[in-house]
Amino acid sequence: MATQKLFRRDVVKKLMSVRGDALCISGLGSPTWDLAAADHRDENFYIWGGMGGATPTGLGLALAQPDRKVWVITGDGEQLMGVGSFSTVALQQPKNLAIIVLDNEHYGETGMQAAPTGRGTDLAAMAAGAGIAQTMTVTDEAGLDDLMKRLTDGNFPLVAVVKVDVRTGETVMPPRDGKYVKTAFRMAVLGADKAQHPG
């Protein structure tokens, strides 16, 4: 009998304990609520739409801020929709980008329909096949400890697929005004002058 799968809220909370000053991008749906619940700050860019866009948003940010770590936290369905972005990331080999996929093997926001990740599709293998050398699939606490170590060591680019169960936590909503979230993020990262006068 398999032990119980990890709970996504516990996973994100634990990961945030080693976040340091990493910049975070969250993919639509539960990962955005998870990030807001675990560690709400201005250096979070919460995506509520644009399915498939979390990883390429993280890539553009990682290239623009090479001295900051960038963590993308997204879901399996969101990453599958933009799965070609593994190849786009692999071409750039950003030394500061980690992609953490919370894989519950379902489309959670739309009624828990089964996703291909529960029926043989292996996102870590797809990332490896795209040319990302550091990939892992986490299924238990020991794996989570290993992931935290790798996030701290920063041997990036890294793709970590964390298998979680279908439990969701309480919905915790970050600010819903995308313009505000964008500007707050830029203010925090770039400072007021550069954020307000991009010239």
Binding site: G52, T57, A64, G82, K179, P198
Partner: protein
């Protein structure tokens, strides 16, 4: 400005401090892609599909850099939800150069519907379109578009017409037919 629009565009990228150029290739973009690749101050980001470029551009802006996104008109169809949902919702600046297919002189019927749809569809999700049919118009539109997007905060697409880049010929033997002698 005179001469090839691609050379002017590259010069304007430098003047506007464009640091990332994300693209899906097209023949009409090959000169600009080549000069971007040869430029050590520009990070070129080849994409597997065009909507990635919209997100890369947003991410670059979050990190304080400007990104230009290059694509063929067919690829515009792939970008619509990303533009509507990410760019327009958050009012990210966006600067795209789109080389047209299914446009002036086209002979491939499969390109026609998207060629017709490009401008109305982009406009429907909030992108301002600047059409150019000559090298001079294209260079001017790139200059104006860079100003409108990164200073004016708009989403702008410069549409380079097929009248300028030329229609690709689609001719050949007819499948299943005996060649006439």
């Amino acid at each position: 400005m005179s001469g090839d629009w691609s050379a002017s565009a590259h010069q304007l990228f430098k003047e506007h401090d464009i640091k990332q150029v994300a693209y899906v290739p097209d023949a009409g973009l090959s000169k600009l892609i080549k000069s971007s690749l040869a430029d050590n101050d520009i990070q070129t980001v080849p994409l597997t599909t065009e909507e990635e470029g919209i997100a890369v551009s947003a991410g670059a802006w979050l990190g304080g850099q400007k990104c230009a996104v290059l694509m063929q008109s067919s690829g515009v169809g792939n970008t619509i939800n990303m533009i509507a949902s990410l760019t327009t919702t958050c009012a990210f600046p966006l600067f795209m150069i789109v080389t047209m297919r299914g446009d002036y002189g086209e002979s491939n019927p499969w390109q026609m519907p998207m060629g017709r749809a490009v401008q109305p569809v982009l406009e429907a999700v909030g992108v301002r379109c600047l059409r150019a049919e000559t090298h001079e118009e294209a260079a001017d539109a790139v200059k104006a578009g860079l100003m409108m997007s990164f200073h004016g905060g708009e989403a702008v697409a410069v549409l380079i017409g097929q009248k300028l880049i030329g229609a690709k010929p689609f001719t050949g033997a007819h499948a299943g037919m005996q060649a006439e002698d």
